[in-house]
Structure formats: structure tokens, C-alpha cells
């Protein structure tokens, strides 16, 4: 792998070398390396691009890395990844996509990830998107995540996109069975003329299920963000969605959280706040000796940390 790809790998998966445990690296649309373990198997799909990741029931303390790197300008990559996580497993899955576009063609990566969590399985899923490159070609990413949580399962999704991606639509849909819980933490920063859309729709259809969506975003310059979240409670359940955005310069932010109760014991809350950095926060940090610009950076970094 060349220096550019290694840097992308570090950005999206915090990898300095090949990861320990199971991994599958997708390199410019091709297989770039794979490792399986006794408990985690990875197969290439035969009907369409992508892989099946099969994690045996009861697998504990193992991780799967599935980074994607694109350095070829003009490459449009589409991939289907299906995760089958066995009952009682407890694993960490680290995905991520880095695009370096030095040319004039638009580069894109659209990933469709489907998670099937067995009973009482626990998964922490980390996804990071990163773009760079001095070319005029744009960088697009449109991830779709579908989650099916069986009884008692727990999925924690952390998604991060801090700059570099020109246009993204992140779609997440899912269903959550009895006693299962889904936590989504999203962090987005857009600059320039970038656009980021989050479209989230999850149905809680089992007693004692819960969903918590926490989105924090910063929209700078002329960028645009949309946050659409829909949580449906069809059983005694608890749902919470929170969108907190800092708006700067000439950016536009639309927050549209929706909650729909279809059961008398569904307890649903939504919160949405959009505002500029509070003047008193800047003032406080300036009294500690920071310049206004340094204060702004600290506040944004903390907010998205």
C-alpha cells in the first residue's frame, strides 16, 4: 500500500499496520487483504459486490475491521456488507471509508451495511468517513445502514464525518425487538459548499425496547445540513432523539425530529437545538488567554469530541 492509502487507513480506522483479529480491506474497489478467525468468518458475495461477515454465537472480545480506501479519481464504488452476529456475542466492528481524490473525476463510495443481531448480542459499531485531495473531482459518500435487533440485543453506532466529504446522505433504518436497545451517536462537520443529510427511521416493536439518537454537528461557511429522524414506538418502549447543531457563517441547518407513538406506553422525547457559539463561551476562553479563533476551535473540537 502506498503512503496515501496508509494515511487514509489511519484516518478512518486508526490503523498504523494490519489490524489484529478479523479484517477485510477494500482497496480501490478490489480486495486488499483479509483475515478471519476461529469465530469470525468473512465471505465474498457471489451475486453482488460486498462481503458477509459471520460472527459465531458467544464470540467475546473480538473485533472486525472493514476499512475502505479509494485513491483512484473517478472511481464509483458500491458495496453490500451483511453482518450476522450470533446470540450472546460481544464484538467491536470498525468500518470507515477514506477517499483521496487528486483528479478531476468524482469519486464515490456507497456502502449498504445490514446488521442482524441475534438474541442478547452486543455490538459497538464505529464508522468514520474522511475525504481529502486537491483535485477538482468531488468526493461522495452515501452510507445506508439497516439494523435488525433481536430480543435483548444492544447496538451502539458511532458515526463521524469531520470534513472532506462533499456530499453525503446517511440513511439508517431498523427495527428493535423486546428488551433490545439501539444507541446512535453521530458527529458531523461540514465546510465550504458541502451537504450532509441524515435520514433516520427506526421502529421499536418489542416491550422494553429503547432507541437513543444523539447528533452533534457543526455547519460552517456555505454548507448545508439536514437532520431527519423518525422514531416509532409500537410497544411499551423508550425513545429519545436529540439534534444539537452549531451554525456558523452562511450555513443552513434543518432539524426535523419526529416521534410517533403507536402504543399508550411508548415514551418518546425529541430535542433539537440550533444556534451559534455562545458569546460568553468565547469570552470565557479569551479570559484564559486564547484568541477568539483559538477559542472557537476549542469549543468546536470539544463539541464534536
Amino acid at each position: 500500500m502506498d503512503a496515501i492509502k496508509l494515511r487514509l487507513l489511519k484516518e478512518v480506522a486508526e490503523l498504523d499496520s494490519l489490524p489484529v483479529g478479523a479484517y477485510n480491506i477494500r482497496d480501490n474497489g478490489q480486495a486488499g487483504g483479509r483475515n478471519t478467525t476461529a469465530n469470525i468468518d468473512i465471505h465474498t458475495k457471489t451475486d453482488k459486490p460486498g462481503i458477509d461477515i459471520i460472527i459465531k454465537p458467544g464470540t467475546k472480545n473480538e473485533s472486525v475491521h472493514i476499512p475502505v480506501v479509494i485513491s483512484e479519481s473517478g472511481l464509483k464504488d458500491m458495496v453490500y456488507n451483511d453482518f450476522f452476529i450470533g446470540e450472546d456475542a460481544d464484538v467491536v466492528i470498525i468500518a470507515g471509508c477514506g477517499i483521496h481524490n487528486a483528479g478531476c473525476g468524482d469519486s464515490a463510495h456507497d456502502g449498504i451495511h445490514t446488521f442482524h443481531l441475534g438474541k442478547n448480542a452486543r455490538v459497538r459499531y464505529v464508522e468514520k468517513h474522511y475525504g481529502e485531495g486537491e483535485g477538482s473531482g468531488k468526493r461522495f459518500m452515501n452510507p445506508t445502514t439497516v439494523v435488525h435487533l433481536d430480543e435483548g440485543a444492544h447496538l451502539e453506532m458511532e458515526t463521524t464525518q469531520i470534513g472532506g466529504i462533499d456530499d453525503t446522505t446517511r440513511k439508517t433504518t431498523g427495527d428493535v425487538a423486546a428488551g433490545a436497545s439501539l444507541v446512535v451517536r453521530e458527529k458531523i462537520m461540514t465546510v465550504g459548499e458541502q451537504t450532509a443529510i441524515t435520514d433516520f427511521a427506526v421502529d421499536m416493536n418489542g416491550a422494553g425496547s429503547s432507541v437513543n439518537v444523539i447528533s452533534r454537528s457543526v455547519a460552517k461557511e456555505k454548507s448545508k445540513q439536514e437532520f431527519i429522524s423518525r422514531i416509532i414506538g409500537s410497544a411499551p418502549c423508550a425513545g429519545h432523539t436529540e439534534c444539537d447543531a452549531i451554525i456558523m457563517d452562511d450555513a443552513v441547518v434543518l432539524a426535523s425530529p419526529q416521534i410517533e407513538a403507536r402504543h399508550v406506553d411508548a415514551s418518546l422525547i425529541h430535542e433539537a437545538a440550533i444556534g451559534k457559539i455562545a458569546g460568553e463561551q468565547l469570552t470565557k476562553l479569551m479570559t484564559l488567554g486564547l484568541t477568539e479563533q483559538e477559542a472557537e476551535e476549542q469549543i468546536i473540537n470539544g463539541f464534536l469530541a
Binding site: R216, T283, T287
Partner: protein, 244 residues
């Protein structure tokens, strides 16, 4: 040493918040007191650079800082603990202590600072300065930030407000220790007798003017007896009743 020369602050429409303030601060502890709305906090903010005076001059160690920014004044050695501490989503106690100290603050360094204000570093350094902290906790962290800076001039705006279950004696000990370390000037805005009691100099600000400046021994007895406090007779009688 801080010198205010003919400092005025006019917010337009004929409203003058401060009028012709002439004051030299070169004592260990200087307490600013006076009725609410009299201009005490405005004076503190003018010293810190948060407000720009509309007339007059401010000198800090002989340097004219009247047109200097908040940042420049902070770098010259002025610290300011807000009356109402600011909350930050995402920034943690250790981040703010590090920014205040100008270097990375580890558990030991944070412990040295937080224990001074009665907080256990282990429980607090990773906490966000958000709504999950009580007013009293935020206030103590605010004081710890000024401690971390250790500057020549430290301004505290009503530091005792909201200090729950933590005695005044500790607060006073913090000021004493701070002075021993910085050998600087500590300016405290307060209504509390026990804080006025440690002041070398008391400054009374009323209706935007300096009503009195002098040694504690001279001013404190009159202040405590309520002479010329501007309180109406009904309220004064009730306060007397409570004291009795």
C-alpha cells in the same frame, strides 16, 4: 498594580453605568462592595476587557491597556472568575484547567487545583462543564481555573455565591494561598462580611460612582451598621429584626 483614571462607561441614551472612576489597586486583597446594580460587575468586566470604557484610561503595571483585547489582557496577567460560570457542551474540567494553565493538566496537577476548592479530581476531571454540574460545582471549578493561571491580578465576581457545603474559611484560605504564590493583587466583588473582613482595602461602588475607598478598619464598621446603605426603613427594620 492596576490604575483606573477617570474611567466612565456610557451605554448610550444618557445611561452612564460608571462615572469618573479613579482607583489604584495595589493591595493584597481589595474588596469591591455596594448595592446590586451599582456597577461592580461592570467595573470588573472593564478591567478584564470584556467591556470597553467610553472614557478614561486603564494602566496595568504602568502599561496602558485601555485598548487591549480580553486575550491581550489575559496574557499580561489578568484573570477573571465570572459571577455566573459558563457551561460548555463537550469541554471537560481537565480541558478547561489545561487551557487555563497553558499546559496539559494531568490527574496530579488537577488534584492540586481541585482539592483547593474542595473537589476530588478523580470524580471531576472527565466531567463535562455542562448542565450536569451544579451551580456550586461550576463556581468552584471557575475558581480553580483562576488558581491554575496564577496571574498578577485575579478578579473574582461574587465567588461565595452558590458555594454549597463548603465553608467560607476554605474560600478565604484559597485567596491567601493564591496571594502567597503569585504575590499579586486579588480583587473580590462581594457582599459577605467574612470576605470584607479579610480585605486590606474596601471599595464601595454605588450608582456608578466610587462612594468610598479606604482601609477595612475605616470602612467596615459603617458598612456593617448599614449607615448610608440606601436601604429603605421598612427593609432596614426587618434586617435588624433578623440580626437581633
Amino acid at each position: 498594580m492596576l490604575e483606573l483614571q477617570h474611567v466612565g462607561f456610557d451605554v448610550g441614551g444618557g445611561r452612564e453605568i460608571l462615572h469618573d472612576i479613579n482607583l489604584t489597586i495595589d493591595d493584597r486583597f481589595v474588596a469591591i462592595t455596594g448595592p446590586n446594580g451599582g456597577g461592580k460587575s461592570t467595573l470588573a468586566k472593564i478591567i478584564a476587557g470584556i467591556y470597553q470604557p467610553t472614557s478614561g484610561k486603564i494602566l496595568f503595571d504602568g502599561v496602558d491597556i485601555t485598548n487591549k483585547t480580553i486575550t491581550e489582557r489575559a496574557k499580561l496577567g489578568i484573570s477573571y472568575a465570572f459571577q455566573q460560570p459558563v457551561r460548555f457542551k463537550g469541554l471537560r474540567v481537565k480541558d478547561l484547567l489545561s487551557l487555563a494553565a497553558g499546559k496539559k493538566t494531568d490527574v496530579d496537577a488537577a488534584c492540586a487545583l481541585l482539592s483547593e476548592v474542595g473537589l476530588c479530581a478523580r470524580d471531576y476531571i472527565d466531567r463535562e462543564l455542562n448542565a450536569s454540574l451544579s451551580g456550586g460545582e461550576l463556581k468552584r471549578i471557575e475558581i480553580a481555573m483562576v488558581l491554575a493561571r496564577g496571574t498578577k491580578l485575579s478578579i473574582f465576581d461574587e465567588p461565595e455565591a452558590g458555594i454549597d457545603l463548603w465553608s467560607f474559611n476554605n474560600l478565604i484560605r484559597v485567596f491567601e494561598k493564591m496571594h502567597a504564590e503569585t504575590q499579586g493583587n486579588i480583587l473580590i466583588i462581594s457582599h459577605q462580611e467574612r470576605i470584607l473582613n479579610i480585605a486590606d482595602t474596601i471599595v464601595v461602588v454605588k450608582a456608578g460612582e466610587l462612594a468610598a475607598v479606604g482601609p477595612r478598619a475605616e470602612l467596615l464598621p459603617d458598612l456593617l451598621s448599614g449607615v448610608d446603605s440606601g436601604t429603605c426603613s421598612v427593609l432596614a427594620d426587618k434586617v435588624e429584626g433578623v440580626r437581633a
